[in-house]
């Protein structure tokens, strides 16, 4: 079955992510991490069972959400810092969240 005919009938080429380097006929090679759709049908079962390839629709590995911490500038006015000095500090760290404290 040619690819166009296969796809027109609703089929889809299964894609797999190689987890190790694999050589397969005719003289093809896929490296670890690469996605391939033309692995021989008789090899897919054992490659999956051995954990040598995985379904490429799955995430390659769990990635934990990274919470980016924003820098914080704390200006304590009780330390005798003038308004001008405070403005200078804030302007020098524009990416930071500024907290102004007046605690005695």
């Amino acid at each position: 079955m040619v690819l166009g005919s296969y796809l027109s009938k609703g089929g889809s080429m299964a894609q797999y992510r190689a987890l190790v380097g694999i050589d397969y006929p005719p003289n093809k090679r896929v490296e670890a991490g690469e996605i391939v759709s033309d692995l021989p049908g008789d090899a897919i079962k054992w490659l999956l069972e051995d954990g040598l390839i995985e379904d490429s629709s799955k995430s390659p590995k769990k990635v934990e959400a990274v919470v980016e911490e924003k820098p914080v500038t704390v200006i304590d006015l009780s330390d005798g810092i003038s308004v001008e000095e405070a403005e200078a500090i804030v302007s020098s760290t524009p990416e930071a969240e500024t907290i102004i404290s007046e605690d005695k």
């Binding site: 190790v20 380097g21 050589d23 021989p40 090899a43 490659l47 069972e49 051995d50």
Partner: protein, 246 residues
């Protein structure tokens, strides 16, 4: 009818050296402790298998040439670096059985007699947390490589499920480029997955390497060695590769 082998074709690879032509006797010994478990009421003794152990004994003729047997064995005694030994008692051919041993050389003796050749003997102690002395097969045997190559596969008739260990000995190398040597496995002898990728050899440099495949890893029925990349334009490398299943 069993196929018996003559000992004259035995090969001994010691790290990056092929010392076969210096030795005239080699023996490998695999042992396991038998710990007695006999208790009252027993009419016969019973035992449980304890710790495994292994040794290698080498005997041959002394020679003082560069990278020869004396230079290699004398500097290896009590070395902190493990010595990788492959003994092919069936001879050097793909598929022949071999012992793959991770060793500490524990003794080296030179004997001179007035009416005889100067001779040597050495002992090496197998050492390894999983296994220091394994039985496997050769996947490349003193093979002179001048280009990338896929070697003939070796059929184990079935897969195994507990990893293994691979040895590479590059005992001669005049190639003016690097080589990448791998052990691959396959369930169908057609599609091949990398099992061990040895550190790429460097130009005109001999080397050896032992790589363990973790316990619990499936090793499929067929094994082969390939030289997947071979840089340079001239020269050759002589390689021996072995793999032992566990």
């Amino acid at each position: 009818m069993p196929t018996f082998r003559h000992g004259k074709n035995t090969v001994v690879l010691f790290d990056k050296f092929d010392l076969s032509t210096y030795f005239n006797s080699v023996s490998t010994s695999a042992m396991a402790e038998a710990v007695e478990t006999t208790t009252f009421g027993s009419a016969n003794k019973t035992y449980a298998v304890g710790m495994k152990d292994g040794t290698v004994s080498l005997e041959g003729l002394w020679a003082g040439d560069v990278s020869g047997v004396d230079e290699v064995l004398a500097t290896s005694v009590a070395s902190a670096t493990k010595k990788i030994i492959t003994v092919g008692s069936e001879g050097a051919a793909i598929g022949r059985r071999a012992k793959l041993i991770n060793t500490d050389e524990t003794s080296y003796e030179i004997s001179s007699a007035v009416a005889d050749m100067v001779s040597i003997s050495a002992e090496a102690q197998a050492s390894g947390t999983v296994g220091g002395l394994d039985g496997g097969v050769l996947l490349a045997a003193q093979q002179s490589v001048t280009a990338t190559v896929n070697n003939t596969s070796v059929d184990n008739s079935a897969s195994s499920a507990n990893g293994g260990v691979g040895h590479l000995h590059v005992t001669a190398n005049t190639r003016n480029g690097a080589a990448t040597i791998k052990i691959q496995h396959s369930a169908n002898n057609s599609t091949w997955a990398d099992l061990i990728v040895f550190t790429a050899t460097t130009s005109a440099t001999t080397t050896s390497e032992r790589i363990e495949v973790a316990a619990g890893t499936t090793v499929n029925r067929y094994l082969r060695t390939i030289v997947s990349a071979f840089a340079g334009s001239s020269g050759s490398a002589t390689i021996t590769v072995g793999f032992a299943r566990r």
